[in-house]
């Protein structure tokens, strides 16, 4: 059989398996972000938001909606890959792929696509919830699509690297808890970085999540604090670097071969 055909079928198989997995356990994968999002909108949007007033010229609930959607997308893209690949390692069924005639880049691409699809699926659900509370509009469809794809790919890659290194279940919650959550919360989801003192504003620009949230907010609201081109360049660089790193780890057999 021609290699390309084998790789194509293998890739489709991994993606199908990943999608089946997160759809099968939808109460753990799709439902929680929907519930959290509804609570965020009720508490921060309606109850607190009305007292906060305007932010960057928008009502508070409208301002935070893009960030909240992005937060769900990021968390779920990451969570999908880290839990699925670590689960495959833990139960040893990753070996099903390692013995097969498929290269590591196909395995990586399959898992990343699974993460992207879960991120996007959750994004659709939380956007639908957001529309119950806010008047979302679309400023730039292309920006929205591009930033969603790049962000989900990046966070899926992050999940893959975490899963490769993880040796026990605790290891797959350390990075999300102690690194991602602070970066996301400090990434301009709930506030405009213009509100920060100059020093902390400069520090915030070192946080790549600021660029993702800001670019996505631009796609919806048409307002941005960062240069859109710079945002895409930074995210693309991160994707290339983390993608190369994840592939190198798989090629070396780190965490999966003795």
């Amino acid at each position: 059989m021609v290699r390309r055909e084998v790789f194509k079928v293998a890739f489709a198989t991994i993606v199908r398996k990943e999608v089946n997995r997160f759809v099968r356990i939808w109460p753990q994968t799709i439902l929680p972000p929907a519930v959290s999002m509804a609570l965020y909108f009720v508490i921060f949007g309606n109850l607190i938001g009305t007292r906060v007033g305007q932010m960057d010229g928008f009502s508070y609930i409208d301002f935070i909606a893009p960030g909240l959607i992005m937060m769900s997308v990021m968390n779920n893209a990451y969570a999908n890959v880290v839990s699925s690949f670590f689960g495959a390692k833990f139960q040893h069924h990753v070996e099903e792929m390692l013995v097969a005639p498929i290269p590591n880049w196909v395995i990586l691409a399959g898992y990343i696509t699974g993460g992207v699809l879960r991120g996007l699926a959750v994004g659709v659900v939380v956007t639908a919830i957001a529309m119950c509370f806010t008047h979302l509009r679309v400023s730039s469809v292309l920006t929205i699509i591009a930033i969603l794809l790049l962000t989900t790919v990046l966070f899926s890659l992050g999940g893959m690297v975490n899963a490769i290194y993880a040796k026990k279940f605790d290891d797959i919650s350390i990075i999300p808890t102690f690194l991602l959550t602070p970066l996301i919360y400090l990434g301009g989801v709930f506030y405009s970085i213009d509100l920060l003192p100059p020093f902390w504003k400069a520090v915030s620009y070192a946080n790549p999540i600021v660029y993702m949230v800001d670019a996505f907010r631009y796609g919806l609201l048409g307002t941005s604090h960062t240069h859109l081109g710079a945002a895409f360049a930074i995210i693309t660089l991160f994707v290339i670097a983390l993608g190369g790193y994840a592939l190198t780890l798989l090629e070396r057999g780190t965490g999966i071969k003795s």
Partner: protein
């Protein structure tokens, strides 16, 4: 052509354990080959490297002439692996597991479904195709691993302790299945602790100990080197003690079963004549099944572990 060729295979684990010391092994196409060895001898490490699950330190592996490193696509396509430990997703059904594995080997969905039905049926799992794998019994899980390894119809099937922990009936049915596979042209390599299994199934055997191949021969030749062979005689008469025949090593297993060690050169006809003269009537006779075991132990015991750090013998 050799189905499997292993040349100078070395493995040193990160903790310094020197698991394989330059193993050389050839398995001819169509063979049913047993790799025997005590725990920790290097069987699973060898299988792990052939399966691409363990990284080799040095050496060459060829599968039907395809180098596993250079031509990994061709080599892996020809290989089917049944590992020792259960290694499928506990949350997928038997059918999903088989279809996924078929997909990893590039089988289009309709063909994958056809093969899944074929092998799940042959291994008695078709009725349970929609059961989650974690709900299957140990025996069914073993069969599922074999079905999974066969779905792409490999030319070389490697089984690492395939019948470990399964009951006698299932073991026998798996033997029949594997014999049929071998007759159908599939080369089979198995590691096993059940030496009766190797004796019953295999044509050739290699014994590995302390990471070295210490014997590589046919089962028949190996058994021919036995200094004695033990036979079990079921008697028609009840006896309290063995007949007085000093030229034979006789002992009662129970009051109607006699065991005799027949040294090489001793004649079976003479034994029967002598027993008849002693008024012992024999209803049936069989080999004692652990004869290969005795031989295996004698080989392994005379190969003491080299001191750590020693090079290749």
């Amino acid at each position: 052509m050799n189905a499997l060729e292993i040349l100078g295979l070395e493995k040193v684990y990160a903790n310094g354990t020197h698991a394989l010391h330059g193993i050389n092994l050839q398995v001819a196409e169509g063979d049913f080959f047993a790799l025997l060895g005590p725990n920790g001898a290097g069987k699973s490490t060898t299988i792990g490297i052939v399966s691409s699950l363990v990284k080799k330190t040095a050496g060459t592996i060829r599968v039907f002439g395809h180098d596993l490193t250079q031509n990994w696509f061709e080599a892996r396509s020809l290989l089917g692996i049944v590992p020792q430990e259960i290694n499928f997703s506990q949350f997928e059904t038997s059918l999903e597991i088989i279809l996924n594995q078929a997909g990893y080997y590039g089988l289009p969905r309709p063909l994958a479904m056809e093969r899944a039905e074929k092998y799940l049926t042959q291994l008695g799992l078709w009725e349970r195709r929609n059961d989650l794998s974690r709900t299957l019994s140990g025996g069914f899980k073993r069969r599922l691993m074999i079905a999974r390894a066969l779905v792409h119809e490999p030319k070389l099937l490697i089984l690492d302790e395939p019948t470990a922990g399964v009951d006698v009936e299932l073991r026998r049915s798996m033997w029949t299945f594997l014999r049929d596979m071998n007759r159908g042209g599939t080369t089979i390599v198995l590691t096993t602790h059940y030496l009766e299994e190797a004796e019953s199934l295999c044509q050739h055997v290699a014994i590995i100990d302390h990471g070295r191949i210490i014997e590589r021969t046919t089962i028949k030749e190996l058994l021919a080197t036995l200094p004695t062979e033990t036979f079990v005689l079921d008697l028609d008469t009840v006896m309290e003690s063995p007949p007085a025949l000093p030229q034979y090593a006789l002992r009662m297993r129970d009051r109607t079963t006699l065991e005799v060690d027949l040294a090489r050169g001793q004649d079976m006809n003479d034994l029967f004549i002598n027993l008849t003269h002693s008024n012992v009537r024999i209803r049936s006779m069989r080999n004692k099944s652990n004869r290969l075991e005795e031989l295996f132990l004698s080989r392994v015991n005379r190969n003491p572990e080299p001191e750590k750090g020693n090079g290749q013998a």
